[in-house]
Symmetry: C2
DNA sequence: CTGAAAGCGCTTACAG
DNA sequence: CTGAAAGCGCTTACAG
């Protein structure tokens, strides 16, 4: 209801021109201490807030906010990366008239990540969205970005790095606890729970490690009598799952309760079950890829946890834009919900 | 990458002034057929899209988009209505510089709803957000709104009305199916499932009816042998739940499996269980009110389904604004996800 | 039926 | 150190 205070009214109240007000607002210097103080007083008293629409009209048409997205090659990783990309594109479309320009860079190897990082920094992008798959290279990126105060947002995984960066991802430990809750709800306590991790040359992915840890924590907390046993199988992608050491013994053990797959490949389980002729073993996994969804529809998987990759990409771009144009980092503090998906809410998530 | 086409370039290409272009763009009339056609051709060929930022700067400061929110008195309905209100306020804050003005109107009785509706229509609001609690009165509102083509968005419940309106709410039947999935997962098929509905002078709330129907459908579909039995208790709010006819018999029956509460009062169950000295009965309910959350934390409720009321309010206002300013109704087609909440993802939803 | 001009609030290049 | 002016793209009131 209060009168809209603009830069013009500030200028009048402080008895200066709007140019001088702007100099103070943007710390452009060249203003005497006394005038500056007078203007700052008026700004404080009136509670002036810049009109972002006018600001973006003026600025956005001249020089766009340029954001670089350094993402895994779209085809890899089960097309998972199309989702964040879609979210980023959607955000950019919404902000088109505000003056935004998204550029994509792709990598698969660490060396490409490093090389593209350099290009991005050289080209003077104002913000970067990427993924912390390679720790050393992510640190190198952050080190370079720090020089020009370029904000970097990491999606998907939270890892510990040497310089400050933003993370928009799901709390993996919590997601593991949720998985524990869901499985335990289905089968009760006691018996043997199987955790399936993918392992590669670099060892366990941080998300998988955290998820397993959360899962174990849930069972330990809820199982006062220590009658539940959690067994982990770390399997490399290039080996057939059904012949992994321990698999046969576990599946045929009468005490086996359910399986928690810490990655996106829960759909690999049902064929293994069929191979050993076992039925009725609940599976909880991650991600809404087509293979998993098909299993969910056929009721071969009980629950999937969604990391909302599109949502992650969308908020990364919107959050960065807000930060860059309004110095407001609130849009970069988003907790990705641990969204539980069953067959019946599949089309509504 | 393509050159930004503005009204100025359209004018130049069509060899007219920008005023004439604007007349065509807004169907303001007073343009010869031949000029109009020439301009339309250029617009089509260039793929011109109006710059919404410039448009809002010009328009928003002169006349704001005025939206009326006709909502239940905030204190009633377990403070549930604070959430959509919060979402609407958040949307309005984000759109402040674009020129939006939200006005709240409150009702509790149908008569007040009707009276406020008239006021809203008289005052010439451009869009309305409300709730279809009273069918006849909602129809009256829609009838009045239709005259001036004022769009009306209903939250919370989808009902059948006599005139077209928008609905932003959860698919209640699906939510019931999800509840069926969750309960059946916990206790398996067979035995007696209890459905608890609140009933008042107007009978069953549409959402509750749909949720029960979805729940029953799930059990019927999955229970080929018809060994599961669903029993409904419709209870009026002014009577003690534990003495409702059938309650004692059901709870003490060995075959009883779990309880589905179709409204926000799942928290009333645990005391009833204690009253009869029964334990370990799973409960699935709706809404994240403090009482329910406390039960979830104490593991007296297994699952809560969130209708995301804040999200509903937020999207109603954003969707209406987009529709009113860009003739784009896409923001009014939102399916509210059936969000499943357990103790472990509570703080992240 | 059409055009020229003013202005939304902010930003900056230029003149002094 | 400060002000006056131009302009972002769109919209409208006014003049012809």
């Amino acid at each position: 209801m209060k009168e809209p205070i603009g830069i013009k009214q500030i200028a009048k109240l402080a008895e200066v021109s709007i140019g001088t007000v702007d100099r103070v607002l943007h710390n452009r210097g060249g203003v005497s201490k006394i005038t500056e103080q007078k203007i700052l007083d008026v700004i404080r008293k009136t509670g002036y807030r810049k009109n972002t629409v006018a600001s973006r009209l003026r600025l956005g048409t001249h020089k766009k906010v340029r954001i670089a997205c350094l993402v895994p090659e779209a085809a890899s990783h089960w097309k998972y990366w199309q989702f964040p990309k879609r979210g980023m594109d959607r955000a950019a479309a919404e902000l088109h008239d505000h003056g935004i320009e998204l550029s994509y860079f792709y990598f698969s190897e660490p060396s490409a990540f490093l090389e593209r990082s350099k290009v991005i920094l050289d080209k003077g992008f104002e913000g970067i969205v990427t993924v912390p798959f390679f720790t050393a290279e992510s640190n190198a990126l952050l080190r370079g970005a720090q020089v020009n105060q370029v904000p970097v947002v990491f999606l998907d995984t939270e890892v510990s790095l040497d310089f400050p960066g933003w993370f928009i991802c799901q709390h993996a430990h919590r997601a593991g606890e949720v998985a524990g809750r869901l499985l335990q709800g289905l089968v009760g306590l006691g018996g043997i729970y199987l955790v399936l991790n993918i392992i590669n040359a670099k060892g366990l992915h941080e998300n998988n490690r955290q998820r397993e840890s959360g899962f174990r924590k849930f069972l330990n907390t809820h199982d006062k009598k220590e009658i539940a046993e959690v067994v982990t199988i770390n399997y490399p992608l290039d080996q057939p799952l059904e012949t992994m050491p321990g698999m046969e013994r576990l599946l045929l053990d009468k005490r086996r309760k359910g399986v928690f797959v810490t990655n996106s490949r829960a759909y690999m389980l049902p064929p293994v079950f069929r191979h050993y002729g076992v039925t009725g073993i609940p599976v909880v996994g991650f991600d809404l890829n087509e293979e998993n969804l098909e299993c969910l529809r056929r009721e071969e998987i009980s629950f999937l946890i969604n990391q909302k990759p599109e949502y992650q990409g969308y908020h990364a771009v919107r959050g960065l834009f807000k930060f860059l144009t309004e110095k407001d980092a609130s849009g970069l503090h988003v907790d990705i919900p641990v969204e539980i998906v069953v067959r019946e809410n599949l089309h509504l998530v």
